[in-house]
């Protein structure tokens, strides 16, 4: 089956999935620019590496399954691998950042608990 013979519903579904996925990746990257501290910034890119990734992978699976007239599911490998590795990398990175901040004498967790205590007392 060529691209022109693709049914309209499949083309529309693939288009929606592609634009949703790339839009989520763009929003996550803009969040990287928008937030002020590193600990807030860590949250933003996971938008693209979870839902954005999975919608683009689903679109790719749908497209190749429709054009080759058989199930093409090897994209699932990327999804499984990134789902396992993204939390591991970010945990290691935040651990290293916390270590570096504490080594320089400013502890973000202590600041956080102090702010919470002040808010309760007020």
């Amino acid at each position: 089956m060529t691209i022109e013979e693709l049914p309209l519903w499949a083309a529309l579904l693939i288009s929606v999935l592609l634009i949703l996925g790339s839009g989520l990746a763009l929003i996550g990257s803009i969040g990287l620019l928008h937030f002020k501290t590193f600990y807030e910034r860590v949250h933003a890119p996971t938008l693209g590496s979870t839902l954005g990734l999975f919608s683009i992978l689903t679109g790719s699976m749908l497209y190749f399954s429709m054009t080759e007239m058989r199930f093409v599911l090897h994209e699932f490998l990327i999804g499984a691998f990134l789902t396992v590795t993204t939390p591991v990398t970010f945990l290691l990175l935040v651990q290293a950042t916390l270590y570096r901040d504490r080594f320089e004498g400013n502890d973000p967790l202590a600041d956080l608990s102090r702010n919470i205590r002040q808010a309760i007392e007020r």
Partner: protein, 93 residues
């Protein structure tokens, strides 16, 4: 008709992902500290991988899928190595 819809959406997806890569590159060049740069590089790896998947849909070749898989693997290894370096000052102890 469906070819036209698919082509337009592929173009939009490519533009979005390229903009996302530009934004992460800006953060990587500017980022106040080393960990911001590493985080931006990891995000850039993911965005490049997504862009290659979109290119794969556009061309219909499966070689792009393999390239995306390799980029995903390399991104994980690179970010873990750099986080380890920021933590200890050495990658392999």
């Amino acid at each position: 008709m469906s070819g036209l819809i698919l082509e337009i959406s592929l173009l939009v997806a490519k533009i979005f992902l390229t903009l996302a890569m530009a934004v992460t590159a800006y953060r990587m060049l500017r980022g106040p500290r080393a960990q911001d740069r590493v985080l931006a590089l990891d995000t850039m790896y993911v965005n490049a991988m997504l862009l290659l998947l979109v290119f794969g849909i556009g061309s219909g070749a499966t070689i792009y899928f393999e390239m995306a898989l390799v980029i995903g693997l390399l991104g994980f290894v690179a970010t873990v190595a750099m986080a380890k370096f920021l933590m200890r000052g050495e990658v392999i102890e």
